[in-house]
């Protein structure tokens, strides 16, 4: 019995002595840290993944308090709830912590867009594009082989009808899909913006139209109808200024091709006489 008990007791005693020393040390060597740092640290997931670009969660928490201009939405694993909690601790207005979400700017679904060739090689967007151009007739559009789906940690993006679509409930705006997309057609947009130009083609109207029924043809109709001066056509492509856009949806009615889309449910378009 004693043979077993002595080492057990010895190790326990050493453990207790170490623990006691640490407790005393934490009191004696206590450094007054900004309370907010430890509060923020508790909101962060503690995975120390370095995704925010800092050396671990502690570092990010400290930098957040130090630097007022630092974005509090850099923590991808924490998601939206973490961003909100941090913004509350730092007392930042909701405006500066405007939640963002990824948006795929293409609506070239299967039956609306044309193909150049059938890609039978490596089933990835990068592979298909590496052949010499994307298999789609439209060289700007979504290839739909799911490099972004592969990259997404949050199950927030999927291929529906040949085009990548973001699930806004799951998206934490970490930006991984944006890096993965060889076409560069995924952008971060404000969560509250409902209206988007779902096209990235800068081809001239006729060419764009030939390649895809949903393409923006740069007809300027949306520009004329907008009451807030929030939409502009540059390089044959309508672009929305999200700071001015009120998501009213007038341009959605006006768009002749279906390039402009909204997440809001609009009343059916009135028949023109």
């Amino acid at each position: 019995m004693t043979n077993v008990m002595t080492p057990v007791i010895l190790v326990t005693v050493i453990g207790l002595v170490c623990a006691g020393l640490l407790v005393i040390a934490s009191k004696v060597f206590h450094v007054a840290v900004d309370e907010r740092v430890s509060q923020i640290r508790e909101c962060l997931p503690g995975a120390n993944c370095g995704g925010c670009g800092f050396a671990g969660c502690d570092d990010y928490a400290a930098k957040l308090v130090e630097d007022e201009t630092l974005s509090c939405s850099l923590c991808a694993p924490g998601g939206a709830s973490t961003v909100e909690a941090i913004a509350e601790i730092l007392g930042r207005s909701a405006g500066s912590s405007d939640p963002q979400v990824a948006q795929v700017l293409c609506n070239g679904v299967c039956d609306k867009s044309r193909k150049n060739h059938e890609w039978q090689g490596l089933q990835s967007c990068k592979g298909a594009k590496g052949w010499f151009t994307s298999p789609n007739a439209c060289m700007y559009g979504c290839i739909g082989l799911g490099d972004c789906v592969e990259e997404c940690e949050f199950d927030a993006i999927g291929i529906i009808d040949g085009v990548a679509v973001v699930n806004r409930d799951n998206c934490v705006a970490c930006g991984m899909c944006i890096k993965a997309c060889p076409q560069s057609i995924i952008k971060l947009v404000p969560m509250k913006s409902q209206v988007h130009v779902l096209c990235s083609s800068t081809d001239k109207g006729a060419v764009a139209r030939k390649n895809c029924d949903n393409a923006c043809i740069g007809c300027m109709k949306c520009v004329k109808v907008c009451n807030f001066d929030a939409i502009k056509v540059e390089d044959n492509l309508a672009r929305i200024d999200y700071e001015k856009c009120k998501s009213c949806g007038l341009c959605v009615y006006e768009c002749p091709t279906g390039a402009i889309n909204t997440f809001r449910k609009l009343k059916p378009k009135k028949k023109a006489e």
Partner: protein
Amino acid sequence: MVNLIVIFMSIVFVNNFVLSQFLGICSFLGVSNKMSSAVGMGSAVVFVMVIAEAVTWPIQQLLNKFDMGYLQTVVFILVIAALVQFVEMFMKKYLPALQKALGIFLPLITTNCAILGATINAITFGYSFAESMIYSFGAGVGYMIAMILFAGVREEKLYNEEGVPAAFKGVPLILVSAAIMSLSFMGFAGMFQ
């Protein structure tokens, strides 16, 4: 005195912890991508190895007194972990600059096998206190030299160069270059008898 110099030189070059004994490989490959972090990690290892040795050597004498030398692994891990925590708190209070310089590396090496290896080796070889201090200091310096040399190699980014076969790009070539470096350190073998 000569004895101490021999111990130091042999642990730095002949029995280099990383390149000859293959201890601490994980951090050697993980943190050597930038020169600055290699230096930070290296100095943290030197620092922790020396204080860990200074604490574990007397503890081994204590264990020997109870005739329980076989407990060294368990007890050393326990003590080193507590010690590193303690040192970090101490530095936070009195040496914030040093704490910032060592940064995240200090807690990371708490459980590094090189630290435990140095302390246990010194006991196995039956070194006196002074000898084991020199031994652990040399082990840390050897680790640091290996880190700095390898970071120098990696900063050239040759392993991602055009013309490198795809299968060799990145990690495989890093491992190959680590192996070549380890081979070159074999040249030191036989420097001391």
